[in-house]
Symmetry: C2
Subunit: 643 residues, 2 copies
């Protein structure tokens, strides 16, 4: 039997009742407090440090906790069990989901202003959830058509769509409803499925007085979940909200998650975490928009194959086993109540279709959002999330591949890393001895997000702090105040000293952070290079390269080339596209032309398993240098890097 | 709080625990014992007599119970409450549903032998539930299509049908299932709906080892429910079972039922009764065929509009209120578990489409079963059930009308009436002073069924027992031993004396029975005559007249003409078609060509409200004579009737 104690969490003064035998990381995460723990709570990443202010507890010593920290009562939450009532202090200021609302994520301007124009220019408006105002002809002796048939006939004739009405509970209440409202009613219809390219079928899902119609578009990332609340009638995004995918407590990458899903209750736990994360964001969104849960009649969901499987509670085990087969690619619409999503229970959940175990609907949608499927020119889509996915093609062919680059570009697994939100350093330079940086929002810095992390290796290399393999040059004189050996016996570079940070902690980059970043960039560049070679093409053949992912509003192409992440081609060819996964979920919701293109891309796109190509495995390590061991691949960059 | 006593029912020696405050009619019916009570248990029909052999009870005196009966302990079950444990004897031998199994209903030969040939000749075989054996290509690195998509692609390509797979529970279990069975599995698909004339959509409803595929076809009559168990793979009817629709305890005609449905819990009670009746028949059918409930994947249901509404638990109140609007005509397929029908819970229930409040799917189906919708000639369908429905038309037009004729032709509301089953007199003649009769099955008679009742008035008129208005000629010398005044002070004619009957009770016809029959036949003939006149046609224009309904295997056209039920036209024009409602439910199940025709007829057929035509109301009473007051309508019959 469980025993319970009280846990008070500072600085929020939130009180939680917790089980004694549950570690504090699990407890905090299940209370909605986001703590990064990229190792899944196994004590191997050292990210979940908290400070115990009062109370008894048991903990394990760890290489990540210095003697000084130990004295202060700092512990790894994942290794600590409460014995008595306890008071803890969180060491990061940005843990609560409520805080994340402040930040309107990436491209606020775009979501709130330019989206409509973008859709009009490139797509059409025909949402997969419709609100119709019906003024039905009244029945008479000469017009004795039944109630249900009367509605269906009226809608089919007026809207020229195929209508199905098979909700028996709704049918049961229809006669009174129609008569009470004198045959003037509103109805919400959800697109059920496409029989073929031309024929969609819509289902009647609600009949009553309906004035507003909302939907949500969801991007489930391995690390970050983003929800956009959409006013369907006005094709407007009312708000964009993001949070850490709470599954992170079970591991930071898809493979770790799948492994957890195979344990007893593991799938259920992962499913509950992501549903909880989305529901928290929905709650926030509807609170801010002052609407009700029941007014949301649809959700479109974009994400990688593993995320979609876990969201739908589908077994994910065969995704990571040869020959890597998902349960489903073309996911059918599913009733909301079956997924646990807190929208109108009769609303429908639509997932963007998947291509393969490592190419999800986010990539299919991204291709359409960027218009690659209609392009005459050779294009590349490079999606930099916890997984790196890439597509090469144009209107005639589309080839995709994936590599596991880890969540470094989402700020996870990096000592001072964080997602691209308020307080994140998104741009770093070193001039002389000074470190210059740019912070998202009008605030002191808290950590470094993806675009900042991309800058760092080349900046440090140029400053002579590290060599081309990412190792610290410890006899560097210029920065001797900033280079130090930390408690773990590792070299690190102090980017911002604690007196200048919001959370009063140094913002640093360690040697293993650099290694992490180089592994990530190496996986991506080498993946792209391998794919291009496999297709008998050259990097120079690329005419447009779309960069998507959850960066800050700023990603410096030149710095990404200096790092060796992006190929050394003309900067004009790069288009930073932001969160194309979320964008495509919105397109899928609002445009039937987009839906048709997305399904077409899904059927057309082929997938190459890079790891099955010998050159990929053999040459990978060459890509772990700044920018590469083979400098002929980076002729312009090589010149710039000379110092 | 309820108190309970034990009730033993003879001759079956069945023991039931019953509530003290529940009358014995309710108790017996809810235990599956069918007692006719056409008044709905209000004590006004006198049909539910039982004999109390032991125990204490309270009862009310009734005009239907004679002094002699009272002495014997005979009571009306609906007016009797048990006080102590009690033993009762049923006065009819045919009350248990288990008995009704013995009788293979109408046209056994047809259902078991000729049906297949009839379908081949007139329709096609393409059932709305399919069993497919799949031998899926195994996935590989080069063929990494997801499990669900693999199945859908395989089926669409092989079967050339549109497939939907949206059962998330089934999808969840799919990966293990496919791998465990080495990619060889069976699947059951249900037709979901027709998008248009050409495009049907099938839904995957089951995946496992399936070897047999069954379905049931149901005819829900106001008085009688019939279930056919169909082996779908072999297009064979394995058995036909019928029982009294247990709703009869709440009244014998649709109007009484609708009125009851408007009372508190009334709809629910009626719904439960009919579902219970069907489930009892399903149980019997699967027991006899030695199959399991889960092997039944579909049910097609034919019935009048009220019966279908009550079966689906849909409010029926607007059916009987001007302008007489049903809730739904084109009923969507419904999951079995939502209807309470005891077949595979994922199976689908398909109702034949309805036309109007008083023209149901049984009539639409009947038109197709008889081929009227493809006929060049003017045809009539006359359906004689508790309602009388008629259709006039051919391939170019179809007009329908209905009249309430009461359940007389189903043997209900007639003192010695019974359904057409073993022990029923189905043919009566009088030669000299002798009454000759023919009984269904090799047994002594128990009562008279529809076809026998049709004979009686003309036979008695010709024998001088009654006059043309149905009144007894009491000074009749020849039959003075058979004519008597009964306990209710009413004249009756003894058809069979009790020493020759199975249940040791006289089989009689009372003056009010005759009146009942004349009212029924008058309503039907006058309805048809009115409709024909309304269409500016003459009775002589009819080229074929199809007679459907739950009669015995024998209906004498000439005698029906003598009665004035059928028009006085050439006998060759009459086709006795049996239970076309059940037949069309089977066609709907087995043939897509039939389904298309049925939907076409449903859309094409118009409905005339006879009661809104002045001539109908004004001239009705003329039809209450034998055969009619206007003998010019029956020129040949008039000659024959002369005695």
């Amino acid at each position: 039997m469980s025993e319970f104690v009280k846990l008070r969490v500072l600085p929020y003064n939130k009180e939680i009742v917790v089980e004694k035998n549950k570690n504090l990381l699990q407890t905090l995460i299940s209370s909605g407090i986001n703590i990064y723990a990229s190792c899944g709570g196994r004590g191997t990443c050292g990210k979940c440090k908290i400070k115990i202010l009062e109370g008894k507890y048991t903990t394990e010593s760890s290489q990540f906790i210095s003697e000084e920290e130990k004295r202060q009562g700092i512990v790894l939450a994942c290794k600590t069990l409460p014995v008595s009532d306890i008071i803890v202090e969180l060491l990061s200021q940005l843990n609560f989901i409520e805080e994340i609302q402040q930040h309107s994520f990436l491209h606020k301007e775009f979501w709130q202003k330019d989206l409509k124009e973008y859709i009009i220019k490139n797509f059409d408006f025909s949402p997969l959830v419709k609100l119709l105002h019906l003024n039905l002809p009244k029945p008479s002796i000469d017009d004795h058509v039944a109630d249900v048939d009367r509605m269906i006939n009226y809608i089919s004739q007026k809207e020229k769509i195929n209508v199905v009405f098979d909700n028996i509970e709704l049918i049961t209440s229809l006669p009174e409803l129609l008569r009470k409202n004198n045959w003037v009613v509103d109805t919400v219809l959800n697109e059920e499925f496409c029989v073929n390219e031309e024929t969609s079928v819509y289902k009647i899902n609600c009949i009553s007085k309906v004035e507003k119609l909302y939907a949500i578009a969801v991007d489930i990332g391995t690390t970050t979940v983003v929800v956009a609340l959409v006013d369907v009638l006005n094709s407007e995004v009312l708000g964009v909200y993001s949070a850490i995918n709470q599954q992170i407590v079970y591991g930071s990458d898809v493979i770790t998650r799948i492994i957890h899903s195979e344990q007893e209750n593991g799938l259920k736990e992962l499913n509950q975490k992501v549903v909880y994360t989305i529901n928290e964001l929905i709650n926030l969104a509807i609170k801010n928009a002052n609407i009700q849960q029941k007014d949301i009649y649809a959700a479109t969901v974009s994400g990688n194959t593993t995320m979609i499987h876990l969201f739908l509670n589908l077994p994910a085990k065969y995704i990571r086993r040869e020959p890597y087969i998902p349960v489903v690619n073309r996911v059918p619409p599913i009733e909301a109540y079956k997924t646990g999503l807190m929208i109108n229970p009769l609303g429908k959940i639509y997932c963007l279709p998947l291509v393969a175990s490592y190419i999800g609907g986010d990539i299919v949608g991204g291709v359409v959002a960027c218009g690659i499927d209609e392009s005459q020119e050779l294009c590349v889509l490079l999606d930099l999330g916890t997984n790196g996915e890439m597509v090469v093609g144009n209107k005639d062919f589309l080839v995709s591949a994936a590599c596991s680059c880890g969540p470094a570009f989402e700020g996870v697994g990096i000592k001072s890393g964080m997602v691209a939100t308020v307080g994140a350093i998104e741009d770093i330079e070193i001039r002389d001895e000074e470190v210059l940086y740019k912070v998202i929002g009008d605030t002191k810095p808290v950590g470094i997000c993806g675009s900042g992390l991309i800058d760092i290796p080349a900046v440090l290399y140029k400053a002579g702090v590290i060599d081309r393999s990412g190792k610290f040059i410890v006899d560097n004189k210029k920065f001797k105040n900033r280079i130090r050996e930390n408690a773990d016996g590792e070299y690190e570079f102090v980017v911002v000293e604690k007196e200048f940070t919001l959370n009063k902690q140094d913002i640093v980059i360690t040697e293993s952070d650099i290694e992490n970043i180089l592994r990530s960039k190496g996986a991506i560049f080498h993946g792209l290079h391998t794919l291009i070679k496999y297709l008998n093409l050259y990097l120079e053949d690329i005419k447009k390269i779309y960069i998507s992912g959850g960066f800050g509003s700023f990603i410096d192409i030149k710095k990404a080339q200096l790092l060796g992440l992006f190929p050394d081609i003309e900067q004009e060819k790069f288009v930073v596209s932001g969160n194309t996964s979320l964008l495509s979920a919105i397109l899928f919701l609002l445009s039937s032309y987009a839906r048709k293109r997305i399904y077409k891309v899904q059927q057309k796109m082929t997938y190459i398993d890079l790891s099955s190509l010998p050159m990929y495995m053999n040459e990978y390590t060459s890509a772990l240098f700044i920018p590469h061991t083979d400098l002929s691949l980076f002729p312009n960059i090589a010149k710039e890097l000379r110092r």
